[in-house]
Symmetry: C2
Subunit: 144 residues, 2 copies
């Protein structure tokens, strides 16, 4: 069990180290779009629009948090709200033209940065790393 403990300890340490820095790094690289905004906007783009409630559920955020984030994105002209004609309670959120553009830029530059960081990894390692992360996060989601 000793070796197993060591690995777990390392994973724990490194994941949290990563967590501490991710936000700051994102902010430095993309002052126009914070990590959260970016994620939300990307989700909207990916889903071809969705409700604020869906975002909150998907990212485990409070609905008030999402509401304010969306308000900010709207003020920047990056998302627009379309009231659902069948249910006037819901607003379906979509990236605007401008929002899609900014998203594309940030995505490209983030991908670039990640590529640099991962440049000397061979494909098999990348693939395994990606699958480990998926597996890990799925477990986290399952167990809280």
């Amino acid at each position: 069990m000793a070796h197993r403990d060591d690995s777990v300890e390392t994973i724990q340490q490194e994941m949290t180290a990563f967590a501490r820095r991710a936000r700051a790094t994102a902010a430095r690289m993309h002052p126009e779009l914070s990590l959260v905004s970016y994620t939300l906007l990307a989700h909207l783009d990916d889903q071809n629009g969705c409700r604020a409630t869906d975002l909150a559920a998907h990212y485990f955020l409070d609905k008030s948090t999402v509401s304010r984030q969306i308000a900010a994105l709207e003020k920047l002209g990056f998302v627009e709200r379309r009231v659902d004609p069948d249910d006037h309670r819901v607003q379906v959120l979509h990236p605007t033209q401008k929002g899609a553009q900014v998203l594309a830029n940030v995505t490209a530059s983030r991908r670039q940065a990640f590529h640099e960081r991962l440049a000397d990894w061979d494909e098999a390692d990348l693939d395994r790393f990606a699958s480990y992360l998926l597996r890990y996060n799925a477990a986290q989601e399952r167990l809280g």
Copy 2:
């Protein structure tokens, strides 16, 4: 390059997904010690004491942030300051008895949670995952 792009995209997504949740999870699990406090305290314990400046450098935090975090930990009775007799500018920080105790508890419970998440992983996978994370973070440190 297509497959490589996919892996990179996944790594990016999952790392950031993790980052978004880590703090909240930590806060929920250990209200008595935030993620940052925990990390700083753990470092002090690990290093058998160090300076605030060292903490800031190691974790890429502003010295003011560290100063306030340490002040909070001191108020809670978890760390103590010992002025370096050879240089009255520096305060060497140490966990107190109480701080070491709390740290041990939180560490145990965190480790427990991680073990649950990773229970069905075999040892080789754990080991590889840990080394990937180390490698990734080292690259991030190198490249900013």
